[in-house]
Amino acid sequence: MKKILIIEDDLLISSMVQYRLKKDGYETILVQDGNEGIKAIEEEDIDLIITDVMMPFKSGIEIIHHARKFKPDVPIIVLSSLGAEEQIVLEAFNLGVADFVPKPFNPNELAVRVRRVLKL
């Protein structure tokens, strides 16, 4: 069973994402801030990271940097309301993220993107 780390400070959004991914048979780990996210990246054996950009303690960009260092092979999907911020999107892709899902989003659409990324 594939294990997905969800780093999202909005409890309701993370709950929606978790529910949808569990429905598809994925195992999920939920953390609510950047520090916990970094700890989970170091400690957990994960197959995919879904992260927000604006979070307490550490931003999503810092998390991507950290993940590239510790888990270079783990794909990352960025889920952020900063989709209109060209600079952020470009930076994320330059760091090697697999996908960028802008908010507002549809959890079903996210599930499809997760499936696609994990099959690559």
Partner: protein
């Protein structure tokens, strides 16, 4: 001689009179009996005391009340008592020792003195006013002052009475007490407020956890129609009625649903809106509109806008001319967003000026609406409110509504200078060449701002006549900024004429501007 006598006798008379006034009615103390009576009556005379002497007696002899007298033996023989300053006891003490045939002697400041010396001493005290005769009360003010100065200080009243009698001390005491009471009340208030805030925060967190799970399940497990048809019992299973009736729970639930609605798209958005209605949270939003607090009204308007509560639009319309800036802005934004039928006619009647922020906000909404519905934008030009008319001209320019150029052409000649500037900018952006004559007229305006706007626009929409006007204006030596705009417009309209003009006008500014305009890198700077 009479005069001499007068000058001697009159002062003597006054001296005598004043002495008489200053002195007390002195008793005759030369008689020893009267002196004793005086002392007994007076009881105490400062510095004067009396002691008894028993000749040829020794301490072992039986002496009545010996301890009271404090007898000591004299070297010359006999006994001497201690000194008594309470002179009214003199007779009593003397009678006690009567059988022993006592003698007594006066002491002035502990020095044995004769009767005559004592009499003179007392008389002197009386004369100087150093003692007050007991029972004599008709004293002059001088005597009272003298007496008062001799009395040791003793507070007239205890402190607690003094506080009340001294109003300054009383005021200071009241202020200090008030300060302490207020400080205590503030500390108490802070503690209560903080405790309430902490409790509210904790409750909010608890409610969030209670909401997240059921809301997620509901959105994934139920279809849109199923949510619309949820029974009261089903709702009670998801969110117990006891919780749902609490204002804080409703507040957290509304926040969560609206927050999620902003971040979701597709079917989830519709489900959230249906759920909002089914849980009757729309009534809470409508209730907010009835609040007297502007922030609650603004919150209600935001909720109505976010959750598409079309049934509340008639209520929302009432706030479009609210005196509160935020309420007014939010109400207009909500109306424009939600209403299919709503046009811009209501904006025409706004009495408050539209701020730049409001104009930007409305423009953002109108940009998406103008193609899908009839906005009656022309009504903005008819507004009594100049800021609304200016907003209308800006809309024509920013959305590119060339159909309205003709209307602007009719309005422009009678408009104010500020409006003319906005209209000219619109002509410039939309390339309204047919309005060149109007802009030519504005070039000759005495209002420098209008002249600058016209000079700028004429470079884009000018005609032959404009070239002549520009040249004439340039010859009149305008200020540097206007000169630059005029030269740029002249270059745009007729580059040959520009070259010809600048080769004749050799002044420093003209040449500097020319070099700037001909530089391909600097031209647009």
């Amino acid at each position: 001689m009479r005069k001499v006598l007068f000058f001697i006798l009159v002062p003597l008379f006054f001296v005598g009179t004043s002495n008489a006034i200053g002195q007390q009615n002195q008793p005759d103390l030369t008689d020893s009996v009267a002196f004793h009576d005086f002392l007994i009556k007076q009881n105490e005379v400062p510095g004067l005391s009396v002691r008894f002497i028993l000749e040829n007696k020794i301490l072992t002899d039986s002496i009545p009340a010996a301890s009271l007298f404090g007898f000591t033996e004299l070297t010359s023989g006999g006994l001497v008592s201690s000194a008594f300053s309470q002179l009214n006891q003199f007779t009593k003490l003397r009678d006690t020792l009567k059988l022993l045939n006592p003698k007594w002697e006066f002491l002035i400041f502990s020095q044995p003195s004769s009767l005559t010396a004592s009499q003179e001493y007392v008389a002197n005290l009386l004369r100087n006013g150093d003692i007050q005769i007991v029972g004599q009360s008709n004293l002059s003010s001088n005597d009272l002052i003298l007496l008062a100065s001799k009395l040791p200080y003793k507070p007239l009243a205890q402190y607690k009475f003094q506080v009340i009698s001294d109003y300054k001390l009383f005021v200071v005491t009241v202020i200090i007490v008030f300060f302490f009471v207020m400080a205590l009340l503030m500390i108490l208030f802070m503690l209560v407020f903080k405790a309430k805030k902490n409790k509210r925060e904790q409750l909010t967190k608890d409610y969030e956890f209670l909401i997240v799970g059921p809301l997620t399940n509901l959105l994934f497990e139920k279809e849109l129609d199923e949510i619309k048809k949820l029974s009261d019992a089903e709702i009670n299973d998801i969110f117990p009625a006891t919780l749902l009736s609490k204002a804080l729970f409703q507040h957290v639930l509304i926040d969560k649903i609206i927050g999620l609605n902003k971040k979701m798209k597709g079917d989830f958005k519709n489900k959230l809106k249906a759920l909002y209605q089914r849980l009757e949270l729309n009534k809470v939003s409508l209730g907010n509109l009835k609040s007297k607090q502007w922030d609650r009204v603004a919150t209600g308007l935001v909720q109505i806008n976010e959750m598409d509560l079309i049934e509340a639009l008639s209520e929302v319309k009432k706030f479009t001319n609210s005196p509160n800036f935020y309420v007014r802005s939010q109400a207009v934004g909500t109306l424009l967003n939600l209403s299919d039928k709503m046009d811009l006619v209501f904006l025409k009647d706004q009495t408050y000026p539209l701020s730049a922020w409001q104009q930007m906000n409305y423009l953002r909404i109108i940009k998406f609406l103008y193609q899908s519905k009839e906005l009656h934008m022309k009504s903005l030009f008819e507004s009594e409110n100049q800021s609304v008319r200016l907003f209308g001209y800006k809309l024509v320019r920013l959305i590119g509504l060339v159909d309205f150029l003709e209307d602007l052409g009719k309005l422009a000649p009678n408009a104010s200078d500020e409006e003319k500037i906005e209209i000219i900018k619109t002509y410039e952006v939309l390339g309204a060449h047919m309005q060149a004559d109007f802009v030519n007229d504005c070039l000759l305006s005495e209002n420098p701002k209008l002249q600058q706007a016209a000079a700028q626009a004429i470079g884009e929409i000018g005609n032959k006549e404009s070239v002549t006007i520009l040249e004439n204006l340039l010859k009149s030596q305008p200020e540097f900024r206007l000169k630059m705009i005029l030269l740029k417009s002249l270059q745009n309209l007729d580059s040959n004429q520009f070259e010809k003009f600048t080769s004749i006008q050799m002044d420093f500014d003209t040449q500097r501007i020319k070099r700037h305009l001909l530089d391909p890198l600097l031209r647009h700077v």
